[in-house]
Structures are given as C-alpha cells and as structure tokens.
C-alpha cells in the first residue's frame, strides 16, 4: 500500500517543484473535410473540430481536479492545412480564411493554441503549399490561437533550399505584420527538418497523415523535479547523476501516461503517445538551464554544456521509455531562450551565444527556439540559420527546428516581452557576415549518405 512518504514526495513534486502535465493535445484529421468550395470547406472544418473537441477542456479540468496534478494546456493539432485546402484555395487570401475558421473553432472549444497551419515541403512545393506559406504572415497577424509550421527537409529527402530561402522572408514579413505585439507572430511559427507526425507541443504541432481520425497525445514536463532531485546528489559521480535523472524522468512520465489514458478513455478517442520532453517555463525553478548548472556548470553556455545536455536528454528518454507504453513526438529537453529564466540569465551575463545554442541542438530536441534577434537581421541570414539547423537534423537523423523572432524595431541590448508561457527575451546578436549568395542559389541539397559515418 502507498505510504505517507510516497504521497508527500509526489505532492512536493507537484506543489514545490512545478511538476505538471504540460499539454493534452487532441490530434484531428481534417482530410475528410476536403471540398472544392471554400465556404463548404470552412464549414466542415469548424464543425468537425468543435464536434470532436467539444469536451476536451472540461475533461482536462476534471482529470486535473481528481488527480491533483495541473494540466497546463489543452490544445488541438490538425492535418497540415496545405493538404486540406489544396482543392479549394486559389490564392494566399483563401488560406487566410481557413486560418480564421481554425481560430474561431479554437475559441469555441476553449483551447489556447491550435497547430497545423502547416505545409510539408521537404522535397518540393505544390501550388497549395506555396500559397499557404505566402499566407502565413497575414494568417498569424489575423488570428490569436493558430500556430504554423513548415517542414523544409528530412534525412530521406534532403533540404528544400527554395523553401528555406522563402521562409527567411516569411519570418521577416511575419515579424513586420505583428510588429505592434513584439513580432509575436514569429513565436507561433516553426521551421522544421524531420518534423514528427505526433508532436503535442506548440507551435510545431500538426496531425500527420499517418495518424488516425482523432488521437490524444500528452506532453509531460518537470525540469523543476529533475533539478530538485539532482540537488540531493551534488558532487556525486556520473553513474549516480544519470540514475537520479532516469528515476525522476520515470516518475514524471508515469503521471503523463496516466493522464493520457484517462483523457483517452473519457473522451472516447484513442491514446497516441506521451512526449517525454522537459519543457521549461519562465517561472523560477522550472528551468532546463538550472538543471545543467546543478550538474556543475557555472553558467549554461560554459564548456561542458553540450555534454551535460546530451547526458540529460539521454537519461530522460531512458527513464521515460519504460514508464510509457507509447513514446513519440519530440521527446527530449527543450532549450527555448525566452521560456527559460536560466537561459535568459545566461544570455544576459554573456555566457550563452547563438553559436553555442546551435551546438546544443545537436544533442537535444529541438532546435533554435524562441530566440529574439535584431529586427534588421537580413532574410538571407535567417535562411542561413534555418539551413544550418536543418542540416544538423538531416545529417543526424533527428528533428530540428527554428523558431526565431527578428523583433521589428528592436536592436541589440533591448528586451522583448511576449508574456505568459512565451516569456521575454534579450535580443541576441547574429553573425553579420553574409550568406546571401549561398541562399540564393536555389534548388535542393541532396539527402545525405548513410554509410561511412564520421
């Protein structure tokens, strides 16, 4: 039988160490909504989302109350809209009307974000993909809760450099279109390489075509719980360090698995996966950076940071995999800058640079995340950053992503405030040497060879 010590440990993790379930995300296929008429398409989309997700938020709250564990977000992901809207949309404006429908549906059911305003263009682009990508700045400016993502490459297909060049410009335009809100639109836009079909985390969630009609995914969290556990083994060797991370990740994931199964049963929607990510928030004590510092780094960004992160990421997976029957999504430690107080502090003290962050993305999920850069950063430089990050993903057979915000009107040394879970960020410098001629070449970078690994 459960004893008082175990009960207290769980409740301390929840109350003081900020253990929570970060999100219950319902994936909804919109493929059966396809229609030649835009009006009809919009109606079908609204009806299907509001019908399937009607009870998502109340059921989430019910589970929260019964188990006493916070479920921070309830969200929806849908089939990439470029696929759904292909038959009805003739121009970017047509796609914007779908974005508005998605926003309306999200507000009706009460979810805080809906992802899937997406295009998958890892090898090439259809006319619909192109129109959707061109509509992103307006779509994100005209909506509150819609999130967008574009997959520009994969290990199997190589990198679509035309799409990468385009995304540099689209990110700049999105920053301009949402200039009065600190270029917030860019915080809702992710550029992926090897995007997973079952990611529950925003802004990059979409419901892949390999998924069923509807599915429940859960994203766990718990950097604070890992950090507290490590405080108790300060100075001990790596074996003990790894074992401690693994045990904590196991406990954290079991909560996610339980919530996922309950949500799935109560909503009558199949359970998909648990995403084993350590997702930080700007709250003090809920930081991935602090875990790395607890391991013995003076500041995140110091030599040794990449090794510490690699260890953390691997142990989280090893502990988590045993705790859940199905693991998927991004699964790893997130290192967003604006959403992690420890990362913000490291940037402010000059310990953490864009280049070090790029190195860190080689060993963790997901990529250059929530990084604010000067508003006048050229589109080509942003494309270059995307290409670098996508190349890391392509060659290492992992998911990588870029969510970068060239904040309109802001310069180095200034700060941008997004509020809520998105936090705030100091503007970071970008290498000012040009990659214009490289980006402008056009075409594709071929898929890498999978032998002769060096």
């Amino acid at each position: 039988m459960i004893n008082i010590g175990e009960v207290n440990e769980t409740n301390q993790m929840i109350e003081q160490e900020k253990l929570d379930v970060r999100t219950i995300t319902m994936g909804i296929s919109l493929l059966d909504c396809c229609d030649g008429s835009l009006k009809e398409l919009n109606r079908k989309i609204y009806d299907k989302i509001t019908r399937l997700a009607e009870r998502l938020v109340p059921v989430g709250q019910e589970i929260e109350r019964e188990y006493g564990v916070p479920i921070v977000n309830k969200r929806i992901s849908v089939t990439p809209i470029a696929l759904v809207g292909g038959a009805a949309c003739r121009c970017p404006e047509d796609f914007v009307s779908i974005a508005k429908t998605l926003d309306e549906a999200a507000k009706t059911v009460g979810v805080n974000f809906l992802g899937g305003y997406s295009a998958l263009v890892s090898k090439g682009m259809t006319e619909a993909d192109r129109n959707l990508i061109q509509s992103i700045p307006e779509a994100l400016a005209a909506t509150d809760r819609v999130c967008s993502s574009v997959n520009v490459g994969s290990t199997k297909t190589g990198l679509d450099m035309d799409a990468i060049r385009m995304m540099g410009e689209i990110i700049r335009e999105t920053a301009q279109a949402t200039a009065e809100h600190g270029s917030l639109g860019c915080a809702k836009l992710v550029v992926f390489c090897n995007a997973p079909d079952d990611n529950p985390f925003m802004a990059g969630a979409f419901h892949g075509v390999t998924e069923g009609d509807a599915v429940i995914h859960v994203g766990v969290s718990g950097p604070g719980a890992v950090k507290h556990a490590l405080e108790r083994v300060r100075g001990k060797n790596f074996e003990i360090l790894c074992e401690t991370v693994k045990r904590t990740a196991f406990k954290v994931t079991r909560v996610g698995q339980l919530v996922a199964q309950e949500a799935s049963a109560r909503l009558g929607v199949p359970f998909g996966i648990v995403d084993l990510s350590l997702a930080p928030t700007p709250a003090v004590g809920d930081s991935v950076a602090e875990i790395l510092e607890e391991m013995g780094l003076e500041s995140v960004g110091a030599p040794g940071t990449t090794a510490a992160l690699a260890l953390l990421n691997d142990q989280v997976k090893k502990g988590g995999v045993m705790a859940s029957s199905y693991v998927g999504g991004l699964s790893g430690a997130f290192i967003p800058v604006s959403e992690d107080q420890g990362m913000i502090d490291a940037v402010n003290r000059g310990a953490l640079t864009l280049e070090k962050l790029e190195a860190m993305t080689c060993v963790c999920s997901v990529g250059l995340d929530m990084i604010a850069v000067p508003g006048d950063t050229p589109a080509a430089a942003i494309s270059g950053l995307i290409a670098d990050e996508a190349a890391i993903g392509m060659v290492n057979q992992k998911t990588t992503a870029v969510r970068i915000i060239p904040v309109a009107g802001k310069k180095l040394g200034e700060v941008v405030e997004f509020g809520g879970l998105l936090g705030y960020a100091p503007i970071m410098p970008v290498n000012s040497f040009s990659c214009q001629d490289f980006v402008n070449r056009g075409g594709r970078i071929p898929a890498p060879i999978h032998s002769f690994k060096n």
């Binding site: 459960i2 008082i4 769980t10 019964e66 006493g68 406990k251 079991r254 698995q257 339980l258």
Partner: protein
C-alpha cells in the same frame, strides 16, 4: 474499489481530524486507513478512503475539502490513489 488519498498538511491546531472526518461522514466517505505525524509543529496526515458510496465525485470532494482546509488554515488535498500507484510502483 477506487481508493482516494486525502492529505492534510499545515500548522497543528485543535480539531483538524474531527472537522475532516465530519465532512467525510456527511458525504458517505469511508475511511480505510489513517497515518499521522507532527514534524516540527507541522501536522501531516494521510487518509486512505473509499469514496465509492459518496454522492459526490472525487473532483467535487477535492474542491470542498480545499475550501474546508482554507477555513481551518491547513492545506487539504484529495486525489485519486492511482497517481501515487503509477508513480511509485512498477
């Protein structure tokens, strides 16, 4: 039978157990086990209960007990046992 765990943590005072038990009796919740300690003047109690006969759902009991805890000046949590089982047992 789905068991529910009630924990009470806070500054020790007269009548904590009485008030919690009265509420549980009024709502047809059967107490299966109680363990209680005082650590540095702080009251720490865990009850294992069966809320199967209660007209109220676990979520509702949790909300009521939360309010009762505020009245007494202690923190009361009421959670489905499964969360502890899953976390601490393989």
């Amino acid at each position: 039978m789905k068991k529910t765990i009630i924990t009470v943590v806070g500054k020790d005072t007269v009548g904590i157990i009485a008030k919690v038990c009265t509420y549980l009796a009024n709502n047809k919740v059967n107490i299966l086990d109680i363990s209680q300690t005082i650590v540095q003047g702080y009251f720490n109690m865990m009850m294992i209960v069966d809320a199967g006969q209660s007209p109220k759902a676990v979520g509702e009991l949790a909300q009521d007990l939360n309010v009762l805890g505020e009245e007494i000046g202690v923190g009361i949590r009421c959670q489905n046992e499964e969360i502890f089982e899953k976390m601490h047992r393989i």
